[in-house]
Symmetry: D2
Subunit: 483 residues, 4 copies
C-alpha cells in the first residue's frame, strides 16, 4: 500500500522525543525548521502517487502489489541500474538534495537479508526470518526508515570494550526473554525525525571481547528511552528569511545524535545479538549498498553544479575562456565519473548465492565513492572559480524588493545576457547557498557520509582480488613465462 504525503506526515506525530537548538519539539511536522526536512521526505510519498513519476517510483510486486521502487529487492543487474536512476532522479527532483528515507533503509535491509542468512547457517538462529518479516511490514505499510550506524566512539583508537565509558558504542546491557535492552548513542542519523523505524547496525568489526556490541535491531523513534538531538539546520534557518533560496526552503535533510537510554527491543526486531564474527561483514555489506546509493545522489549533485557552472559562465560572458572551460569540464568529469561507477557497479554486481540478491560490485562502488570524497571540494573550487567573488558578496534577495535599490542592482549586476539579470542573480545566489549555510553539511558529508576516505581505502585494499595483476607483474618481469 503506497502512502501519500499526508498519511506519511501524520505517522510522524507519535510523541517522539526530539530536541532542536535546546528546545523540545512537540510535533516535528509543525516545527518551523524541522518541517522542511519532513516536507522534503514527504515529497517521495507525494510523487509516487503522481502519474508522471509512477514509472520511476512504483514497482509491481507479485506478493504485495504496487510497492515503492526503493524497496524492490535487486534480483538482476538491471534492477540495480533502475535503483541508480531512482536515486539519481529523486535527487534531481529534490533540487540536488538527496531524499534518503527509503533508500538507506532498503540498503540496510538488503545487507541484513544476506548477512542474516550466513549467521543463521552457522548459529541456527532465525534472523533471516525476522528481517524478512520486517521487510514485509516495511513494504506493506510503506514505511520511512532511517539507519543509525556510526557510534560516537569516544577515543577512536580504542575498541568498544576498551573504552573507559562502556557506552561509547551501542551495546546490549540486558538480555531478556522477550528481547534485549540497549544503551549507547549513534551520531549522524539522517532523517531519523522523518522515519517510522530506525535500524541500528554495528559500525565496525568486533572481537569476542566486544560481543555485546555486535548488535543490530530496529526500533520506532518514539520508543521509550530514544532521544533525537538535532543538528542546527543553518541553511533552512537562513532560507526561511529569504524566499529566493528555494533549496533551503524546500529541500533539506536532518541529522540527529540518536541516544538509546536503556531501550527495550523485542526479539522480532533484533537482527544480530552477539555474533561478533559477523559484525564486520554487516558493517561493510551495508556500506556497499549505501555507497552505491551515494554515487547516484552525488552524481545528481554534480549535475546541479555542472548546470550552475555552465549557465553562470554564459551569464558572465566567459564560457569560451580556456580556464573557465577547464573548470566546466572538471565539473562534468565529477558527475560523469560517478555515473560510470554506477554503471559498472550495477553491470558487474555479484549475486549472493543463498538469497539471489545482487550486491553492487564492491570495487567499482568504492572506486566511485572514493572519487566522490576526494574530489568534492575540487568541484566546489571549480564552481566558485567560475562564479566569481559575487558568490560571496551578492546582496540579499530582499534588496531587490526595495525600490530604492532594485533599479541600481538590476543595472549593475547585469552580465552578458541581456534582460536576464535576475536569473544571473538567482544562479549565483544558489552557489552561495551551497557554499554558505549548506557548506557544513555538504563539505563534511561529502567527506564522511557513507564512510570516510580512509574507510573506503581500506575496504578497497582488503577486498580487491590482486591475482590477475600479480600474474601480469610476474610475467612482465620475466619471473614466470606465461600469463
Amino acid at each position: 500500500m503506497l502512502r501519500n504525503d499526508v498519511e506519511f506526515k501524520k505517522s510522524l506525530q507519535d510523541g517522539r522525543r526530539v530536541f532542536y537548538e535546546g528546545a523540545a519539539v512537540s510535533d516535528v511536522t509543525k516545527h518551523e525548521i524541522l518541517k522542511i526536512a519532513i516536507n522534503h521526505a514527504s515529497d517521495l510519498f507525494k510523487w509516487q502517487n503522481q502519474k508522471q513519476y509512477s514509472s520511476l517510483l512504483v514497482r509491481p510486486d507479485n506478493e504485495y502489489g504496487n510497492i515503492s521502487a526503493f524497496y524492490a529487492v535487486p534480483k538482476t543487474t538491471g534492477d540495480l541500474k533502475e535503483r541508480f536512476d531512482v536515486i539519481y532522479e529523486t535527487t534531481r527532483l529534490g533540487r540536488g538534495m538527496f531524499n534518503i528515507v527509503k533508500a538507506i533503509g532498503s540498503d540496510a535491509m538488503f545487507a541484513l537479508m544476506i548477512v542474516s542468512r550466513i549467521i543463521d547457517n552457522e548459529f541456527k538462529t532465525n534472523y533471516s526470518e525476522r528481517i524478512n518479516k520486517f521487510y514485509r511490514d516495511t513494504v506493506q505499510n510503506d514505511l520511512a526508515l532511517s539507519v543509525a550506524q556510526t557510534d560516537v566512539k569516544g577515543n577512536r583508537v580504542l575498541r568498544p570494550s576498551e573504552q573507559p565509558d562502556k557506552d561509547m558504542y551501542v551495546r546490549i546491557v540486558e538480555r531478556r526473554d522477550d528481547g534485549i535492552v540497549v544503551n549507547g548513542a549513534k551520531a549522524h542519523t539522517t532523517q531519523s525525525v522523518a522515519s517510522n523505524m530506525i535500524i541500528a547496525i554495528p559500525t565496525r568489526n568486533m572481537t569476542e571481547a566486544d560481543k555485546d556490541y555486535a548488535v543490530a535491531f530496529a526500533v520506532p523513534p518514539n520508543a521509550k528511552g530514544v532521544s533525537l538531538i538535532s543538528r542546527p539546520m543553518k541553511a533552512s534557518e537562513s532560507a526561511i528569511k529569504d524566499p529566493s533560496l528555494v533549496i533551503g526552503n524546500n529541500n533539506a535533510e536532518n541529522e540527529t545524535l540518536t541516544i538509546f537510554d536503556h531501550v527495550f527491543i523485542p526479539w522480532e526486531h533484533v537482527f544480530m545479538a552477539g555474533e561478533w564474527k559477523y559484525a564486520g561483514l554487516l558493517a561493510s555489506m551495508f556500506p556497499t549498498y549505501h555507497r552505491f546509493t551515494a554515487i547516484a545522489y552525488r552524481a545528481a549533485m554534480g549535475d546541479l553544479y555542472l548546470g550552475l557552472g555552465k549557465l553562470i559562465a554564459e551569464h558572465n560572458g566567459t564560457s569560451e575562456t580556456s580556464n573557465i572551460r577547464r573548470n566546466i569540464v572538471n565539473l562534468m568529469t565529477y558527475k560523469e565519473t560517478l555515473r560510470l561507477a554506477g554503471i559498472g557497479a550495477a553491470e558487474y554486481a555479484e549475486m549472493d548465492t543463498q538469497t539471489g540478491i545482487y550486491v553492487p560490485n564492491r570495487v567499482y562502488t568504492n572506486v566511485g565513492k572514493l572519487f566522490a570524497n576526494q574530489n568534492y571540494l575540487d568541484s566546489v573550487k571549480n564552481l566558485v572559480d567560475i562564479a566569481g567573488g559575487l558568490a560571496s558578496t551578492l546582496p540579499h534577495s530582499s534588496d531587490l524588493n526595495n525600490p530604492e535599490e532594485r533599479e541600481l542592482l538590476l543595472k549593475y549586476l547585469s552580465g552578458a545576457i541581456v534582460n536576464k539579470t535576475e536569473e544571473r542573480i538567482r544562479l549565483i545566489s544558489t552557489v552561495r547557498e551551497i557554499i554558505s549555510s549548506y557548506g557544513a553539511l555538504f563539505t563534511s558529508a561529502m567527506l564522511h557520509a557513507e564512510g570516510s576516505i580512509e574507510a573506503s581505502t581500506i575496504e578497497l585494499y582488503r577486498s580487491y582480488d590482486y591475482s590477475e595483476s600479480k600474474k601480469l607483474a610476474l610475467f612482465a618481469s620475466g619471473v614466470v613465462d606465461k600469463l
Copy 2:
C-alpha cells in the same frame, strides 16, 4: 594622532547611505549585524592604545609623531617584514579574521605614491603631491580606509568602452573646473561601511578608447551619490543566536556593492584622470602590495586551521594515525608555505628608485598568493577529514544549556581526553562555523579576493624574468657552450 575605538566609531555616524538585506541602515555602529564588522574594525583602534600591543601597532614617525604601524611607508626590507607581522598578528588577534581597514588603504597609497610619480614625470601632472597630501591627512587623522577596485564588469569579455551599458566600469562622466563627476559601481568593497574614505582605482589595463575609465580617486562614504549595498552576513546572523560562536559574534568583515551615481570628486582627491597608459600599472601595483598583505593574513588563518586540526585529532585519539598525520602536515605546509612567501617577498623586495619605497618581490608574492588560492579548499578538506562528521552534525550550543540534554551530550560527545568534552565541542563547532555560514565568504574570498587564480597566473607569467632559466636550458641542451 592615534584615535581610540570610541572616536573611530563616532566618525562613522555620518549619514552614509547603507542598505542591509533590503533595509536602509541609519547608523552602522548600532545595526545589530553591521556593528559586529564595525566592532571588529574598532579593535585596531583599541589595541593601538593598549600597552601590550603598542610595539606591534605603533611606529614613531619624524614628522607625525606616533603613527599606526600599518601606515609606516616601507623604506627597507625590514619594514616589509614588520608589516607582514603586523598583519599576521592582528589577524590572529581577530581570531583568524583579517582586519583590513588600515592595511588595504596603505597598500593602495603606497601603489599610488609610486605610480603617480611616473605619471607626473610623463604628463607634468601633480598627482604625486595630491596622494602625499592625502597620505598625510590619513596618518594625522588616523583614518580607516577601504579600497574599491573590482568593477562590476558586465560582459567580462568586453572592454570597458565596448560594454552596451557604459557604466559597467567606473568612469568619468564630467570634467569640471573643481573636479570630476564619476559614475559606475565597484563590487566586493570590504569594510567600506567601516571606513572614513574609499579609494577607487582601476581594475585592469586600458586602451585609449577606455580613457574615461582610467580614473583613481578618494571619496568619503557619505558623499552625495554613494550607496553601499551590503552582502548578507550569515555567519554573524547565526552567531548572534549562538554565544559559543565567538568568531562570528566578534570578528567579521563586511563587503558592499559600492555604487557611484554621479558623484563629484574635487581635484585634490583625484589621482588619475585619463592617463590610460598607466591604468594597468596601477591595477597591478596595488595587488602586489595587497597580495603581500593577503599571504600574511592567510598564514594566520592557516595557523588557526592547524591548531584546530591538531587539537581535534588529540581529542579524537587519532593524532598518531598515519592518515591524520598527513592531514595535519598538509595544514602545516599551507601555513608555512605562506610564511615562506612572505619572508622571501620582503627579503627580495625591490626599491622604487624615485620614491625609495620598497615593493614586495612580485614573483614571491604571487607564488604565495597562487599557492593560497590553489590550496585553500584542500586545507578545508584536511581539517574536515580530521574533524569527522560532527563538523556537520554537532548539536547546537543551546542544547548544552538544556538540562534534559546536557548530561547525555557530555557523556556521548566525549573523546580521548578526559573532562574536556566541552573543549572538544567548541573546537568542532569552530570548524563548523568555518565551513558553514562563513563558508561562502571564505571559499569565495580565498579563490577571488586580491585576484583570482587566473589573474595571479597571468601576472606571474608576464612579470617573470626568464633570462637565467633560458640560458641554462640552452647550455644544458648544448646550444651554447657557457652559462
Copy 3:
C-alpha cells in the same frame, strides 16, 4: 584468411625506406632493434593461430570466414565490450605494452565508414564504396595497418594555409585523373614500420582556405616518396644488453616521422580530397574510437603497475603500512576507473543510423581518456614511492651473474619474503625499466598519444549535452518551477 607471424614478417620485406639513428634500414625484420617492434606486432598473428587465444582473437564472419577480432565492425554494444577485452588482453599478453597494428587501423576504418557516408550524401562522391573496398582487402588479406594523423604543424597557432612553409600539414599538391599527389609529414606514426598500409587522415578542422589539407588516404609504406624516420628505441637498446628486461627485449612499438615527398595516391585509396567541411568530423571521429582503444590498453598498463606495486610492497614488508596502502589503492583506482570508462563507453555507445556502426560514447570515452592523461604520472609516483630508491640504484642483471658479486647481492637485496630475492630484484628492475629507458615513451605518450589533455578537454566541452544540467540549475535556483 588469417595470416601467421611468418607470413606477416615476410610481407614487411618490401623495400620500404626506413632510417634508424642515421642509418638506412634494408630489412626491418632483421634490424637488431626494429625487429623487436616487428616481433611484437607479429605476436598478434601468432596468437590468432593458437587455440587458447582463438576465442579472444578470431571472429566468424558471414562474408569472409574467420577474421581478426580487431576487424569485427561493432554492430552492438556487446561488440564494443568484446573489442575492449581484445585490446586489454592483448596488452597484457604483451607484458603491458599495447599492440597497435590492427587496433588503430580498424579505429580509422570505422570512422571513415561513417564519415564517408555523410560526405557522399552531400557531395555525391563515392568514398563510402572505396573505404568499404579497402576494408574488404584489409580483412581478406589480414593486413597490419598504421595511422598517420598528427601533422608536424610548424607554428602551432597558425592554420595550415597560413604557415610560411605550405607543407607543415599534409596536403594535395596535384590532382590527376588517376589520383592525387601529396606532400608533407606526419609525426608519431606508431608501427608504420610494421604495417602493410598507412592510413593518413586530417588532424584538425579546416576552413575553405585549407581545403587542400582536407585529405585522407591509404598508402603502402614502400610507396615512392615515403620515408619513415624512426625514433631511437632506448628501451630496447638497453634491453638487448640485459636479458632480465623481458619487456624491452620482446615488447616494443616504434614511432616514425613519416614523410610524404610527392607521393602518388590512386583514387581508390583516397577517402577525402578537399571536403574541408568534414575534416573536423573525421579528425574527431577517429579519436573517439582510438581513445576507446586507449582506455583499454591503459587499463592493462594500470594492471601491471598495480601488480608490481602490490608484490613489491609484500617483498618490502610494507604492504600493511597505511601510506603504502594508499599508494596501492591509487594504482587500483587508476586501472579500475579506466575499466569503468570502457564499460560505460560501450554500454552507452551510439549507433550511427546510416551505417549501423556503433560509436563509443563520446563523453565516457573522453572522461576516461582525460583521467588517464591527468593521472598517469601520479600512478608512476605511487609505484615508485612503493618501490623505493632501488628503482634507481639497483645493480644490473649481469652483476648477479658475476660469482664475486652474486652472493653479496642475494644477501643484501633480500626483503621480507624468504628465498625470493631474485623475484624482488626482477620486479624492481621492471619498475626501473618503466621509468627509465621506457620513460620517454610512456611519459610523453600517456600525455599526448590519442590527443592531449587540452584536446580531450575541448572535445568534451563542445560535445556535451548540457540541457539536463541547466534545467536542474534553473529549477534549483527557483528560475523555473518544474524540472
Copy 4:
C-alpha cells in the same frame, strides 16, 4: 690546499673494488661510463681554480687559508644563504645535475660536530675531537666525500635487531683495542666511486637492543672488505652514442650498493659506537642539512625545466596559449617555492649553542623538501605537456648527420621561430633525455633521495611546535579569552 681536477682524479686510482654491470673496474677514472661521473665531480676541483668561480667556490679561512666554500662551517644565517647559492649555482654549471662530492660530506660533518658534542657531554667520549680532526684533514687535503646512510633494511617493518639476517643494517661485529669491525650494506651511496672517504651514519632511531647498529664512521673506499656495486648508468650509456646529449655525456652522478664485509675502522674514524640513544638524532640532523642542500639543487633543476618549457613553447608558437601559460607558471612555481624554502630555512636557521654552528630551519627545510617530492612529477607533466609528443618520437641526432635525412628533418621539424630548428630539436631532445634514460634516476631520486615523502612528513609532524597554533584555536573557539 685546494686541489685541481688532475690531482683529484689521480687520488681515485687507489685500487678500490668497484663493479659495473657485472665486471670489475680497475680504474674508475678510465672506465668508459664511470669516468663521466668522475669528470662531473672533478669539475668542482677545476672550477675552484678558475678565477670567474673563485668568489663562489673559495672561502678564506683563518686556520687553513683558502678552503672550499662547501666546507665553510655555517656560523651565521648569511653563511647558509651562501651555501644555498653554492649548491644552486654549481648545479646550474652542471647543466642541472647536482654535484654532490663536497656538499653531502659537509652536511654529514656539520651534523656529526653537533651530535658528537652532545654524546661526549653525556658519555664522556671524545667523538667531538675525532670529527674535528677528520674535518681538518678533509679541508686541508681538499677531499671528496660520500655518505652512506640508507641501510638495505631487509624486511622494512622489523627493527635492525629483529631481522632474521643480522646484517640488514650496518653493525659492529667486533670491538677491538684499535678500532671496530663492521658488517652490512648501504644502498644508494652517491658518488662513492668519486670520493676519497665514505662517511657512514645510522639510518634511523635505535633501541637498546639495536645498539650495535648505532654506529658512525669514515672509511676510505679502498679499505679491505669494501665493495662498491654500481647501478647501470643508462643515461650516459645512451649519451656516449649521441653527441647531442651534452648532459649525459658530461654530467652524471653514480650510486653504488656499498658493502662492508668485516671492514676494520680505526678509532680515530669512529664517531658513534653504541650510543643508541643518539642514533635517531644523528639520523635526522644529517638530513636537515642534506635536505637544505636538496632544495638548492632541486631549485636549479627547476630552473632548467622552466627554461626548457618557456623556450620550447616559444618554438612551438604556443607561448601565449592559456593552458601552456599555466604549465609554465607551474614550472616557475616549482622552482621559486624551493628557493623560498631555502631563503626561509637560512633566515630562520637556529644556532646550536654548544658549537655555534647554524642548523637550517627544520620546518622550512622539510616543507621545501616535501614540496619538491610531492610535485616533481607534476613538473615533468607540465614540461612534457608543453613539449608535445616529439619528446618521445624525435629522431636521433645522427639522423641530422645523414645527408639523405637532414634536409627533410630541418624542414619538417621547424617550428614558429625561423632558422632555429636545430635549437628546437636540441631543446626537445633534452626533455627526452630527462624523461628517458635519466628518468629512473630523476623519478626515483626526486621521490626518495634525502628521505621519502613519509619520512619528511613524520619529521615535520614530530618536530613542529604547535603551541601558537593551539593557542589561537582555543582562543578562536572561545575556550580561552586571551591569545
